[in-house]
């Protein structure tokens, strides 16, 4: 198991280096950073001096090594747009996105699991059919559409929930949270539902398919033949066996939720890193964009690592080798 973790860690480092390289390349081939930093009337000498000072004339491997070294120390350079350190800009906005993603993922997982188990157990009930129809809508509607519709209904027509922003936030250390105020929670609901809806329907359909598969197996029939209660059979024996694929998909989807928060944040003017990224794209703010890329890559890698470790927790066949098989 230790060997497995080490191997996966090694793979993660390789992946991160590749991501870092792509984001490093952005600096060099998407426009000239010196052009972006100086005014039009700067002389060629000054430009050359700046180029030398920034180390842009060094060979590429050295520049890449310097880039990785700086990134490891949390130094991602200055934003072209605001001249603030990129690291700080991201750190300020990360809590908003993480809170939104966390709530969206929890919503998707809990509601998705419940609906999946229900539709798997009672395939032909009218409620199952309703759920499956709804999930079809959830899968096919694009998030921005869902967001706009939700705003129309709950913010404009009913006026129950705010249509933009985070509401009141409380600052704890470097972390701003909306979890501690009523208006913070109210502001969270619409964006979280918008962001989590697609993942929720995906999880519903996955859990349902897995449940149907597992309920057909011999060990479920045998569990029933042992007279176990429905609850023990359905939620113990059956659900646990559906978890491995569900964990995989949920893990990958959590990464996707954080990455695709861009659209939801734009629709709801949510002050997170997704909105920051969109603003940076308008200004061709390369340091912010490349840092965002590295950070999303890192989140994906970490989540995948956790998912792999969760397999071991769920499935003893991976954890413990065979004892007396023939």
């Amino acid at each position: 198991m230790l060997a497995f973790i080490l191997r996966r860690l090694f793979q993660s480092v390789i992946v991160m280096l590749a991501v870092a390289f792509v984001s490093f390349v952005m600096f060099n081939f998407v426009g000239d950073p010196v052009n972006a930093m100086v005014g039009q009337d700067t002389t060629m000498q000054d430009r050359e001096a700046l180029r030398e000072k920034l180390g842009l004339n060094d060979p590429m491997p050295i520049r890449f090594a310097r880039f990785v070294g700086n990134a490891l120390q949390g130094n991602f350079g200055l934003s072209y747009r605001t001249a603030e350190p990129v690291g700080r800009m991201i750190a300020e906005r990360l809590p908003a996105t993480l809170e939104l993603s966390l709530v969206a993922a929890t919503f998707a997982l809990i509601v998705g699991l419940m609906m999946g188990v229900y539709t798997g157990l009672y395939r032909n009930s009218w409620l199952s059919r309703l759920f499956m129809t709804l999930s079809l809508i959830g899968v096919s509607l694009p998030p921005f559409m869902v967001g706009i519709l939700l705003i129309l209904v709950f913010a404009v027509l009913l006026g129950w929930l705010p249509s933009f922003g985070r509401g009141d936030v409380v600052k704890i250390g470097g972390w701003t949270t909306g979890f501690l105020t009523v208006s913070g929670w109210k502001a969270l609901i619409l964006p979280a539902v918008t962001l989590g809806l697609f993942q929720m329907t995906l999880i519903t359909r996955l859990v349902r398919a897995e449940m149907l598969e597992v309920l057909r197996t011999d060990y479920i029939k045998f569990a029933r033949a042992r007279g176990l209660s429905n609850r023990a059979v359905n939620f113990g024996h059956a659900l646990k066996n559906t978890l491995v694929p569900v964990i995989t998909i949920t893990g990958l989807q959590l990464g996707a939720i954080i990455a695709f928060a861009i659209i939801t944040e734009t629709v709801f003017s949510w002050p997170g890193i997704g909105l920051l990224f969109i603003q940076s794209v308008y200004f061709a703010d390369i340091p912010v964009m490349s840092t965002y890329l590295v950070m999303i890559g890192l989140i994906f890698v970490i989540i995948n690592l956790i998912v792999d470790l969760l397999y071991f927790a769920v499935d003893p066949r991976l954890r413990i080798g065979g004892g007396g098989g023939h």
Binding site: T217, D218, Y219, K221, F222, A223, R224, A225, R226, G227, L228, S229, N230, A232, H237, K240, N241, V314, D315, P316, R317, I320, G322, G323, G324, G325, H326
Partner: protein, 325 residues
Amino acid sequence: MAEPVLEVKNLRVEFPTRRGTLVAVDDVSFSIAPGEVLGVVGESGAGKSMTGSAVIGLLTPPGRVAAGEIRLMGRRIDKLPYGEMRKIRGRQIGAIFQDPLTSLNPLYRIGDQLVETILTHLPMTKAEARARAIGLLKEVGIPGAEDRIDHYPHQFSGGMRQRVVIALALCCNPTLIIADEPTTALDVSIQAQIITLLKRLCAEHGCSVMLVTHDMGVIAETADRVAVMYAGRIAEIGPVRDVIKHAHHPYTRGLMGAIPTISEREGRLNQIDGAMPRLNAIPRGCAFNPRCPEVFDRCRVDRPDLMRAGGSLAACWKAEEAVNG
């Protein structure tokens, strides 16, 4: 004779399909006395497993008991609601399935599966249930039961897993065990061990067995009585000795002929020509008539019911002739 443990009368199992209703088990009646081992033998699709599933109330939907009745210790159980039937399964009727590799939940320790079954049915503490589980594992011959109880199914071989399954079937001292092809998925060398074990344990616990198999050898070795099924009906039923030595139904004789014996080493193995009819194409008259070597006109028109033939009952017009003539 004491009251039978299991009594099945005129059981009919149907499968509604889009192309009409299939009758998987048709007018099957038998009973099992206390401590008795009834073998149920037949080709695949003869309805023998289906009969077993009907008895424990676990027919795969849309299959259903369409007619007849099933009584356990005199109590009618085929119409019980799910919750009542659940209390009988595992408690009064234990089940053993064909494939031990897939009968156990791979994510649960075998001890957990045993303890959970015991606690479902018996008023015990967890510690008592665990002690009982260890005792059962010892009884079914699992070495080092104290340690092995915390192992997962994948850490056991096929034969060992079937022993665990037997322990699970026996864990609440049932009055009846339904063993559906308990040795089919095992190595030949293991099969005899498992059958011997099953027979010994059921004798010790005083429970009756309905042993479903297609292996005549296993039946001859184990059963007290045997029911031969063909196309959803019982072709012949009677004490093992009578059925094997003096089979009255041509199908039973065909099955016997298909077992190789050492004394006839040079001869060709007998086989029954043709295949069992599909459930949607069961011929008129006796279902066996297209394959029967002794067929005559009446067989193609009238369907024979079970009738007395020597020490057993056979569904064959020839048997009637033999008795009357």
